[in-house]
Symmetry: C2
Subunit: 79 residues, 2 copies
């Protein structure tokens, strides 16, 4: 069974780069990556926060949060 | 041919987590990951800097730098 990974982003250039280069580089044999665009589904911001996400882009895997560079703070997405 | 990726770290807990969870999650069919412990090979700090690394842990892939969370600034490793 594959491990679920969530990649949260907001469509910013920093996010897109992390998506196309890093999230897409994960081993598809072991990981199922769900890409969540918080600008389009702001109702999932709370879920990201609960997972410990402070800024995007961020990868959440196995309960751990990896903030990748810095595109936008999660708080900025709520405005 | 596999794409070379460098994972720079300094042995800190934040680094170790990123190494075991994220760097190890990359697709081995497409990427060859070299793990570089800058605390042990400080002579490679310059190489990391030249690639654009500001802090560790960081992944360098295809000319792009992905700073992952924040373990230590590169400048702190030179002291």
């Amino acid at each position: 069974m594959k491990t679920n990974v969530k990649f949260y982003h907001a469509g910013c250039p920093v996010c897109e780069e992390a998506n196309s280069e890093l999230a897409a580089a994960l081993d598809p044999a072991r990981f199922a990556v769900e890409v969540v665009h918080l600008g389009r589904v702001p109702e999932r911001i709370r879920e990201a926060e609960a997972a410990g996400v402070k800024s995007v882009p961020a990868l959440v895997m196995q309960g751990r949060v990896f903030h990748v560079n810095h595109g936008a703070a999660l708080s900025d997405l709520k405005r």
